[in-house]
Structures are given as C-alpha cells and as structure tokens.
Point group: C2
Chain length 166, copies 2
C-alpha cells in the first residue's frame, strides 16, 4: 500500500481555482478508496473490476451491455474480466433466448455466495472510511455530486466539445 501523506501535492503553478482544487481532491479521494478496495479484495480471489461485475450480475442473468453501461465502460473491457470470472467459477455466460446477440451474465451459486459474504463487509468498510464526515455532510456530498453528475450527463455531447459557444 503506502499512500503518500503529502498534503501539498498540487501542480506548482499559482493559478489554483476552487474548481481545480475540487477536481484534484476528487481524483485523490477516488484513488485512495480504490486502493483500499483493491487491498480488501486481495485475499478474496477477486480484483476490483471483477467484484464490480459480480455486483451487477444476477442469478437470472444480465446482458453484458447493461453491465458495461452501469460501469461506464466499453463492452470490450468486460470480455476478458468475465472470462476470468468464469474461470474462477463465479459467473457463466448464457444465451438470451429472445435476442441471439446478447449473452447473459449469470451468477453461479458460488458467485452468489461470494457476494452474500463480501457485499455487507464491503459496505461496512466504506461506511467506516467515510465516518469522518457527519451524517449531514455525507448527504451534502451526495447531493452535490448528484447535481454535478446530472449536469455532466445532460450536457454530455455538448459541453465537452470545442464549440465556440459561450
């Protein structure tokens, strides 16, 4: 592990707007929590993305596209991860009788059991790690991020392009 303690880790330039600071902190918090998650799963025969897929799969099966949409990644990323989960016996691919293009990702009993075991512990650890924020602050954070998320998604194919607009 070993996470740097340096609280002054900003780019050296003087121009540090609140927006940049907030984004830098968001990156850092994300990075630390990701590291913790990876560490938690080390002894569990799972990587972080593998655990995420397990979380989005179900006994009855979920289309791979639906999982990749929820994970905000490309289908092509999941092929290999699912392969490894199959090798470990936690999921299986099953054809969708209604649409022969889709393959449903199904939890095996082993996968469902793994999840029943892991998920509550994982949630509890996350809860503890955020305990430095009061209940009210957690709500605040959630609402701010929710608002940011919506605006980013809605302006999606607009805002990020280099339009002359503004």
């Amino acid at each position: 592990m070993s996470i740097s303690t340096d609280p002054t880790g900003w780019p050296q330039s003087g121009e540090m707007t609140p927006e940049i600071e907030a984004y830098t902190l968001l990156r850092q918090v994300h990075s630390i929590l990701e590291t913790y998650n990876r560490y938690d799963l080390r002894g569990e025969d799972l990587t972080v993305p593998q655990f995420m897929i397990l979380n989005y799969a179900s006994r009855s099966g979920v289309p791979l596209s639906e999982i990749s949409a929820r994970m905000m990644c490309d289908n092509s990323n999941l092929t290999g991860i699912v392969d490894r989960l199959i090798a470990k016996g936690y999921v299986e691919r099953r054809p969708d009788p209604n649409d022969r293009r889709v393959s449903l990702i199904c939890l095996t009993e082993a996968g469902a059991e793994k999840l029943r075991n892991l998920r509550p512990r994982h949630h509890e650890k996350l809860r503890k790690r955020m305990r430095s924020l009061s209940e009210h602050e957690v709500y605040q954070l959630r609402e701010l991020l929710k608002s940011l998320y919506s605006s980013l998604v809605n302006s999606s194919d607009d805002e990020h392009r280099d339009k002359a607009a503004d």
Copy 2:
C-alpha cells in the same frame, strides 16, 4: 464517447446507504470527467497520464518519485509513460548530481510550450463543466472532499486493515 444517461445505475440490492450512494456518484463523476479529459487530449498527441506527468514536471527537473507520489501511483507505472513522453520530445531524463539514484524528469522547451498552450484551456474547460454548481457549492464540495481526504490519509495504515476494533 457516448456516456450512458441511465440515472438508476445502482446495484440491484435494496440496501443503499447514503455513503454508498455518495461513493458511487464520486466514481461516476470521476469517470465522466476522465472521459472528457481523454477526449480533449485526443488531438493533442497526449494521453491523460502523459498530460499529468507534464503538469508535474519542470524545466529544472523533478524526481520521478515525487511525481509518482503526487499522482498517487507506483514508480513502475511512470517508467513507460516517461519513455513515451521522451519519444515525443516533451521531457528528458537527467541524472541528479546530488543523488545518483534519482533521475530528474525535465520538461523540454517543446514540453513547456505544449503545457503553456494546453493548461489554461484545460482549466477553462473544467471550470465550465462544473458551472452547474454555484460558487458556494464548489467551495462546499472542495471542503467536504478535503476533509474526507485528510481523514483517509491520516488513518491510512489503520482504518483499511481488518482490525477487530470498533
């Protein structure tokens, strides 16, 4: 690009605490902004991690370890990225005369020029993307994340271990 618009992208279980929601949103916001950054740099001969290294390097040189600490990643990650930046002529490695273990990552004139050109535009884009939050909300978000960051860093080699404590 194409970013899913599904606002109901939660794991299917009923137990959705505010902490989990906040963390999920943090992941999602991070993912979207990362995608935008990647898109912005597509035409600039740079990837996101390459641009980050450029931001942390300087004309006079910065030790690779210092850059990896700021980026919260392992030294071994940077070797390859720096190699590619050298191939593109944006940085060079120079031995530190005071410590023969360290190699200083130095911006070339081309790299410095690239940065002078890109950084202001990058900051402006980020600012616009967060414009849905009021000035006050940006401050709030920054303070919440700063608080979370500090507590995560301080409890670093403690909190994430599976101590019986609590």
